[in-house]
């Protein structure tokens, strides 16, 4: 082993060892755990542990709340990803205009919600969304919309949480898109303008191809992020009303750490993992089709 090689291992081995211990090993074990009936009894005494094969998965398939949580999570992602990415992109485009002054100031302020604790801001938003005394309903009252029972009506609870989540996270992709927009070739834009291309045509044929890869990456990350919603329902709605905000992760947490059905909970975790993997793969394929990757 060369001197350089020895140094390289000294530099990398500690972090690799930790990654192995807290990420790789547990992920492999999760697969093993998902085919057992690991529960409170096994937690007390390992001899109570039994092998159940795909039992946990077939069991889950017969659990209505599991399907409900999958549906809720899908709804979160389906509505949330376009909303969050759309707002991020719109804001980045708005801030990209040459006439906008004090850009660094706006950027910092619009980004600020992203660095706050989800739990703390969820508490704030629970109050903002209060049916009687909340600012949101007060503002809606101005435009003639009657009070909405945001967190108490099963039809309003997902939009309510989505408003909060979008507010909290859109600043991140706004910054990412700002960086991408700065790489849009200026002379190409000028040429298109001279050729008489309108605002939309320039966006569609010059801007979009240039920021395509960034957009795709942001979409993949956002889908993964929205599939992992947990703290918001935990603090704001406890998964209700009528289980309308029970997400896959909330369901997993309850199975695992409220009822201590760690075998079943691991099966849930694996379903989530596979879903994220499939969606990432599909998005990468779509991206390649449009030659963004």
């Amino acid at each position: 082993m060369t001197r350089q090689e020895r140094a390289a291992w000294m530099f990398t081995a500690p972090v690799l060892a930790i990654i192995l211990l807290v990420l790789v090993l547990p992920t492999v074990l999760a697969l093993a755990l998902s085919v057992t009936d690991y529960s409170l009894y096994a937690l007390a005494d390992w001899s109570n542990l039994g092998f159940v094969g795909f039992g946990n998965f077939t069991d889950l398939a017969r659990t209505p709340l599991f399907w409900r949580s999958l549906g809720n999570t899908a709804l979160f992602a389906l509505l949330g990803v376009p909303a969050a990415i759309g707002l991020s992109l719109a804001t980045a485009l708005l801030l990209d205009a040459k006439t906008v002054r004090w850009k660094p100031l706006w950027r910092v302020l619009l980004f600020a919600p992203y660095v706050t604790s989800v739990v703390a801001t969820a508490v704030v938003w629970r109050f903002l969304l209060n049916t009687r005394f909340g600012l949101v309903n007060y503002a809606l009252g101005w435009v003639g919309i009657g009070p909405v029972d945001w967190l108490g009506d099963p039809h309003a609870s997902i939009p309510a949480i989505l408003i909060f989540v979008t507010w909290k996270i859109f600043g991140y992709n706004m910054i990412v898109f700002t960086a991408a927009l700065s790489a849009v070739p200026g002379d190409l834009m000028e040429a298109a303008r001279l050729d008489g291309a309108g605002r939309w045509a320039r966006f569609r044929h010059v801007t979009l191809p240039a920021i395509g890869p960034t957009l795709l990456l942001a979409a993949v990350m956002s889908v993964a992020g929205f599939l992992q919603i947990f703290a918001e329902p935990y603090v704001m709605t406890l998964g209700g009303p009528a289980q309308s905000t029970t997400t896959v992760l909330y369901f997993m947490y309850q199975e695992g750490f409220t009822w201590w059905n760690l075998g079943r909970a691991s099966a849930v975790a694996f379903v989530l993992f596979v879903l994220i993997l499939i969606l990432t793969f599909v998005q990468a394929r779509i991206g390649r089709r449009y030659e963004w990757l």
């Binding site: 972090v15 990654i19 211990l21 950027r107 604790s117 960086a179 975790a269 989530l272 993997l277």
Partner: protein, 287 residues
């Protein structure tokens, strides 16, 4: 011509106004959080919702932070110890995280060793695995190791900084090989090269990374919630969530707890925003 210029002016004013209104709407919840936290108890339960306290009161902070005797037993919301716990946990995971990931990121960029490319690919691939998949078995492993209900149990998983290693590697690639090779010819040891040549060049990146790590650890919720059962070890988000699930109606008190949790990191972010946003922008935009 004059007409065209004034049309451009109006467009510019409208764009700027739009940006200002958007920013106002986005920052309003945080501003309201602060003003409500200073309102006398119960004042925010009114319609129309008051934005400004009738008088600035510290009673919510006193109720939240002070320990007092109720029916012969000491009671507090355990927010003060939670501040200490959060500070300690975030500081330790930042410090240890940097110690572990900065040298590793450098090694992946500049040191030649067998298996480097394969390891790098594995690291990138493992970014797809959501941390939650590992959480259930990790809980059982930590239970065997006696790490449940300990600071170490909270901190250890945050040290698996794959993203951090890749981030440092990316930044290190910009350092010219010639500088490192010249030092090597002068007979400097690898550790010395890293300390005296590479590390000073990586200072801005390290500050950015430290900020990412500190904020990430301070705001982390699910894992501390799982691993900490003892209320005296609760970090701020876990403590606030516990209060929030019981005291839903106490608007002013909850706002005070949100202020205590968000303000330290908001101020830290505002002070170091250049590094944070600069790190995300990747040096593509100045200012």
């Amino acid at each position: 011509m004059a007409v065209k210029v004034s049309r451009l002016r109006i467009g510019a004013i409208l764009t700027n106004a739009l940006v200002a209104v958007l920013t106002l709407v986005v920052t309003l919840p945080l501003a309201w959080m602060v003003t409500v936290s200073f309102m006398p108890r119960g004042e925010s339960n009114a319609f129309p919702p008051p934005f400004w306290p009738s008088r600035w009161s510290l009673e919510n902070y006193h109720e939240l932070l002070a320990r007092r005797l109720i029916d012969g037993a000491w009671f507090d919301y355990r927010i003060v110890p939670a501040i200490g716990n959060s500070l300690f946990v975030a500081a330790m995971s930042t410090l240890l995280g940097l110690l572990l990931t900065v040298p590793a990121g450098y090694a992946f960029a500049k040191l030649r060793f067998r298996g480097r490319e394969r390891l790098l690919k594995l690291l990138i691939a493992s970014l797809v695995v959501p941390g939650q998949v590992a959480m259930l078995p990790l809980f059982l492993i930590f239970k065997q190791l006696g790490l449940i209900n300990s600071y170490a149990g909270v901190i250890l998983p945050s040290l698996a900084g794959i993203f951090a290693v890749l981030f440092v590697r990316q930044a290190t690639l910009a350092i010219p090989d010639e500088m490192i090779d010249a030092a090597r010819l002068d007979g400097a040891s690898e550790a010395r090269i890293f300390r005296t040549i590479v590390l000073p060049l990586l200072t801005p990146v390290t500050v950015t990374l430290a900020l990412f790590m500190f904020l990430g650890s301070w705001n982390d919720f699910l894992w501390p919630l799982i691993v900490l059962a003892d209320q005296h070890l609760y970090t701020l988000p876990v403590a606030v969530a516990a209060i929030a699930r019981e005291h839903a109606a106490d608007g002013e008190l909850m706002m005070a707890s949100a202020v205590v949790t968000t303000m330290p990191v908001l101020l830290l972010f505002l002070a170091l925003q250049r590094y944070y946003i600069g790190g995300l922008l990747g040096g593509s935009i100045k200012g």
